[in-house]
Amino acid sequence: MEVLKIATAGSVDDGKSTLIGRILYDTKSLTTDKLEAIEKTSKQKGYDYLDFSLATDGLVAEREQGITIDVAHIYFSTAKKSYIIADTPGHVEYTRNMVTGASTSQAAIILIDARKGVIEQTNRHFFINNLLRVKEVVVAINKMDLVDYSEETYNAIKADFEELMSKRDYENQNITFIPVSALKGDNVVNTTDKMPWYKGGTILEHLEALDLAAVSNAGTPRFPVQYVIRPKTDEFHDFRGFAGKVYGGELSVGDAVVALPSQTKSKIKDIYFNDKKFQTASRRSSVTITLEDEINVSRGDMLVKADDLPTIDKQFTATISWMDSQKLAAGNKYVIQHGVNKVLAKVDCVHHRINPDYSGIDESIDALGMNDIAKVTFKLNKPIFFDAFKNHRTNGSFILIDSQSNNTVGAGFIQE
């Protein structure tokens, strides 16, 4: 079964929870007991319609405040695909959650309230999904029922959004506009006769038609070694298997490979998945690889094709998304986790910060606060093997860990 991960973005009250609830309801994914709970609570609150947003709002604190404050995951499936929606909040201070949600998604739904049109936060939602190179973006112009399903309103909002798009960095992002009413269910799962001027499909129709291989970003094959399997049994006395996940492209038996950082050459002898041998390891499969030669490879090392090496360097510049209340400043030290490899890093230079309204950059800033996005150069205690994020979503990204608190305090996307 194919799995499509979708991130949602919208400001508070744009109708994100209602939209997700509506999708669940119309795809018959809500179970009887959940539906009953929603009906009961809606009635208690005195609503004259079903408050679908109750299907997703998870934690007690949130129910009290009535807003979604963290990433929640929602699951549903159709005959064609399984879907995972990462419900990320639209609140001003929660850029970090949106970055997190977008990092694991191949598609995003950006919500706009048709009465408000493109607002400052829409800018952020688009910018982040573009920065993270989410391949498919659906711009759902919601609450069409409150603007008399007006084509002019829709077109005006679309034109405003296209204005934002002209500034984007990642140009191959597919962007689709759909006018919807989450509350009434127009163009969410089912079609509607309210907007005869709209010729496109519903949100679900659009998602169903996506080709998964095409929406997940390909690159060259990279194989970060997670774990070395040495059974040390009689039967597998000399077995040394390198366990890991294949990213970017395929690897096949017989491929000439180089192990990094040692730069030792060898060839792929066998590819195992469990106890079965395969000729080829597909993208994102968790396999075990054995090599023709006995070379020294350990966790954090990487196997790559001999004719396609990544950059090997002790320094790089990246766009980072800062996620901690303690500031990042030049001279600070962090642990960088790049895939499964960890190195020590020092902030060499904070070049500039992207303005919070994405209107431009601010070069006067030298320390970053929570939710800031900035261009930063790091120096490392030993080289890592990376690609630019724009060429390789996995091998071009990393997280920053504070060695005092052990928390994940930032995410980075390598530029060069």
Binding site: M1, V3, T31, T32, D33, A37, G58, L59, V60, A61, R63, D70, A72, H73, Y75, S77, S82, I84, N97, T100, T104, Q226, Y227, I229, R230, P231, K232, T233, E235, F236, F239, A243, K245, Y272, F273, N274, D275, K276, Q279, T280, A281, S282, R284, S285, S286, T288, R299, M323, V335, Q337, G339, V340, R393, T394, S397, I399, I401, S403, N406, T408
Partner: protein, 299 residues
């Protein structure tokens, strides 16, 4: 034709997580309940490390009120696969006066497990506990990370969780802390059942329709057993039922079913409209029940 039988996104993700656990932690343990989710975990762990053995033990926190079928199954599985099994008993925590047995109509040992679990984590100095919880089971679980850090007291601070980006799992912790790991976070109930069918994984017989003495209360089907409190006027009847989850007998309700093999169970789940946790009596107590228990260290 290209052989793509290893291309199952959820399976690949789970295997990746198992390998991260083995690489990042000193003393991991797989929490084994005897239920289908933890049996699935065992299969995934085998795949992650083949041809080596699973590099950590299993641990069962035994409430003493389990279905006998589950315990038999557990012991057989461990023997067949040559795994190491640790058992810690809730009864011991009760005898030591650390927890008090609940009484009355809804009494259950389910929530008492927490103390026994936390004690065992301390006893063995486990730094990673692998569990079979899924985000689709319950609303509070939808927010769990794949690596969820627990403090010294086993508590979960759901407001202050580490963001998880791309595939990167940050398992760095301080001494005394531990991490709960959920390799099948992103699986749904149907995904698990379909996997069991595809992989031909053996599961305890109580998952299939069988004749059982039961009684009805609050619209749920309860097992007639010494471990389950029952009122005089609650009449015992015999029906064909099966279980969708197997926790403690006192908190696991059955469903009426004729599905006696795996394919009919999968079909039934596909068609069903009652969510799995609807059959867990302990969640019915209050809507926020699970979240409260989790904050206190429940799995």
């Amino acid at each position: 034709m290209k052989d793509t039988s290893h291309v199952n996104a959820l399976e690949n993700e789970a295997i990746y997580i198992f390998r991260e656990v083995a690489a990042q932690f000193e003393k991991p343990v797989l929490l084994f309940s005897g239920g289908k989710d933890s049996i699935t975990l065992v299969r995934l762990a085998q795949k992650a490390f083949w041809p080596a053995k699973i590099p950590f033990p299993l641990m069962h926190i035994d409430t003493g009120h389990n279905f006998p079928e589950t315990i038999e199954f557990r012991d057989r599985l461990v023997k067949e696969l040559g795994l190491e099994l640790i058992v810690r008993n809730v009864q011991d925590s009760i005898d030591q006066g650390k927890v008090k047995e609940e009484t009355g109509r809804y009494s259950s040992r389910n929530s008492l497990q927490t103390t026994t679990l936390l004690d065992a984590i301390e006893e063995f100095k486990f730094d990673a506990c692998i569990g079979g919880a899924r985000r689709d089971e319950e609303k509070a679980r939808a927010k769990e990370r794949i690596f969820s850090v627990r403090d010294d007291f086993g508590q979960w601070d759901e407001k202050n969780q580490r963001p998880e980006l791309f595939d990167m799992l940050n398992g760095q912790i301080e001494l005394g802390q531990n991490v709960r790991v959920f390799p099948i976070s992103n699986w749904t109930e149907l995904d698990v059942w379909s996997y069991i069918e595809k992989e031909e994984i053996e599961i305890p017989s109580i998952y299939f329709a069988h004749k059982r003495k039961i009684f009805l209360r609050d619209g749920l089907i309860w097992s007639h057993s010494d471990y389950v409190y029952q009122e005089e006027d609650e009449e015992v009847i015999e029906r064909m039922v099966r279980f969708r989850t197997v926790g403690d007998m006192s908190c696991t309700a059955a469903v009426f079913s004729e599905a006696s093999d795996i394919s009919s169970v999968v079909q039934e789940i596909r068609d069903s409209t009652i969510s799995e946790r609807g059959a867990r009596i302990d969640d019915k107590r209050s809507e926020a029940a699970m979240e409260k228990r989790k904050q206190q260290g429940y799995f």
